[in-house]
């Protein structure tokens, strides 16, 4: 469990300069997520064009992991369809060991292999206390999508 694995440069970069950190003018769906025990908060706003996420706002306060996860997620889901996002969420949760996977999608040495930049978050998997930080924006995104239905 090395701290370098957790605090990758890309994570710190997203923490310092979060992407899509603005409110949308007219969101199709909004959800607020919060972790009452550590105080992390994330608001996710999405604009849908058909069933594609055409724009997203990811605003919050909290630790580097929750905020970087929100920022990286906002980039990863922009322009994706609901189905693609669902697949991404699933892969993310498998990477974080939040969900088990039946299929052979996971390379045990690189559980985030299929996730592009998001792979940087795979180090969190080794820090059980922090997994819920990384997960918070994703749960919130799912709620925002539900709300937009």
């Amino acid at each position: 469990m090395s701290l370098n694995e957790l605090y990758r440069e890309v994570i710190l970069d997203h923490y310092r300069a979060p992407r899509h950190h603005d409110h949308l003018a007219d969101p199709s769906g909004t959800a607020e997520g919060k972790n009452p025990l550590c105080g992390d908060e994330v608001t996710i706003e999405i604009a849908l064009d058909g069933d594609v996420i055409s724009d997203i706002g990811a605003i919050g306060v909290g630790c580097s992991i929750s905020q970087a996860s929100a920022s990286m997620m906002s980039e990863a889901v922009s322009g994706k369809s609901r189905a693609e996002v669902e697949e991404l969420v699933r892969k993310f949760k498998v990477m974080m060991a939040i969900e088990d996977s039946d299929e052979e999608i996971v390379n045990p040495d690189r559980p985030g292999e299929a996730l592009g930049d998001l792979e940087a978050l795979q180090g969190v998997r080794k820090f059980p206390v922090r997994i819920k930080c990384a997960d918070l924006p994703w749960i919130t995104l799912q709620q925002a999508l539900e709300e937009a239905e």
Partner: protein, 408 residues
């Protein structure tokens, strides 16, 4: 420095590696570790004397009752209360709820005020909110000054005949601030208000004398003072306890139960419905014995010194802000801080990798966190088993955090 390092071997848990490093436990304000004497007192009770109390007509139950009532006597003496003024329950939270439901529900009405401080723990806020819903009484808060002391001018302004009860923490679990409880009590009594003291942090860390404080009610927890979990103490002045209704009803707290209503047992049993935390009370008494053998003045002196050492070392770190009084005369050993823009949770994780356990968050005091404009802070808190090298390990970890996060 007052050296209590020889006591460390009394605490089995401290002798372990955490993430490859010796465990440095700096979260005693959340819960303390337990000496073998306490762990053994609990286990020995179960091995030799376990029986229900006050009920049996046999030797074992009589022995268990003697141990349980002996524990009450020991705890009472520890805070200079009479034996009948001490009731056992689950913890500070539970004791404060007992006061809110037993005294507040029956005595508060619309127009009345409950005066709290902005530095209260949720345990001394939420029960009053619940009771205010039922009674219509209003909650009012005393703020703190820029140097983290209670704002006594504001207190004086807010205190009038509408105030029926003042809730005050004797020692803040976030700021460390020690409040002038006696002064508050004198002023409160002048307008006829009762004073409810949250002593969860005070009783473990300094000599507390309920008579000298002139507290009307006072609450503390066993687990923060070397004792077991699952046990807490409600102190109340005899006359108040006698006049007060019990919050919880059940076995052992009654004199008679008729179909429609019941009459109560004498104090303190009236406040102990059902089977009490027997082994826990006995474990708490062992903790009290342990603390008394050291002497609460020595415990306090050690903490003043280690806190001074920590404050010096922490404030020397670039970008670090401490939230709490700088003068150790006015504060206990809970030291809350932030470091540049590194989130407290990240600090805690980095320290944890070095075996250093600190807490991060709102510390169950959100109104205070909001007043500080800090939704979360990091907190290191000390107890008798901590040494200067524990502080050094903390400081080293904070320096590493600065490096990882590239704080200039």
């Amino acid at each position: 420095m007052t050296d209590l390092a020889h006591l460390r071997s009394d605490f089995p848990i401290l002798d372990q590696k955490m993430n490859g490093h010796p465990l440095v436990y700096l979260d005693s304000a959340a819960t303390s570790q337990k000496p073998a004497a306490v762990i053994d007192a609990v286990a020995d009770f179960y091995r030799t004397t376990n029986a229900n109390v006050h009920r049996g007509a046999y030797t074992l139950s009589n022995d268990a009752t003697d141990l349980y009532e002996g524990a009450r006597a020991g705890v009472a003496a520890f805070v200079n209360a009479a034996v009948g003024e001490i009731a056992f329950n689950r913890g500070t939270t539970s004791a404060l709820n007992q006061i809110a439901y037993g005294w507040g529900l029956y005595n508060l009405k619309p127009g009345d005020r409950i005066l709290l401080t902005l530095m209260e723990h949720h345990a001394n806020i939420v029960p009053w909110q619940l009771v205010s819903r039922h009674t219509g009484a209003e909650l009012v808060y005393v703020p703190h000054t820029g140097d983290y002391a209670l704002d006594l001018d504001a207190f004086a302004d807010l205190l009038d005949e509408r105030v029926k009860v003042v809730g005050i923490t004797a020692m803040s679990n976030v700021l460390g601030t020690i409040n002038p409880v006696r002064q508050i009590a004198d002023a409160a009594h002048e307008v006829g208000a009762l004073v409810v003291v949250d002593a969860a942090q005070a009783v473990p860390h300094m000599a507390v004398d309920v008579k000298a404080m002139d507290a009307d009610f006072l609450a503390f927890s066993g687990h923060k003072m070397l004792g077991p979990t699952g046990i807490g103490v409600l102190y109340g002045k005899a006359s108040l306890l006698e006049a007060m209704e019990p919050a919880e009803g059940g076995g052992e707290m009654i004199s008679d139960v008729q179909l429609e209503s019941s009459t109560w047992a004498s104090v303190p049993h009236k406040f102990e419905a059902g089977t009490p935390p027997i082994a826990e009370a006995i474990g708490l008494a062992a903790a009290v014995d342990y603390l008394q053998a050291i002497g609460m003045d020595v415990v306090r002196q050690h903490e003043v010194e280690i806190t001074a050492y920590a404050l010096d070392a922490l404030t020397a770190i670039d970008g670090l802000t401490v939230y709490g009084p700088p003068d150790t005369a006015n504060r206990g050993g809970a030291v809350s801080f932030t470091l540049a823009d590194i989130h407290p949770h990240d600090l805690a994780t980095i320290l944890d990798q070095r075996g250093v356990a600190i807490r991060a968050g709102h510390h169950c005091a959100r109104p205070l966190a909001r007043s500080l404009n800090q939704p979360a802070t990091a907190r290191a808190s000390f107890y008798l088993y901590n040494t200067p090298s524990d502080v050094d390990a903390l400081v080293d970890g904070l320096q590493e955090s600065r490096e990882i996060f590239g704080v200039a």
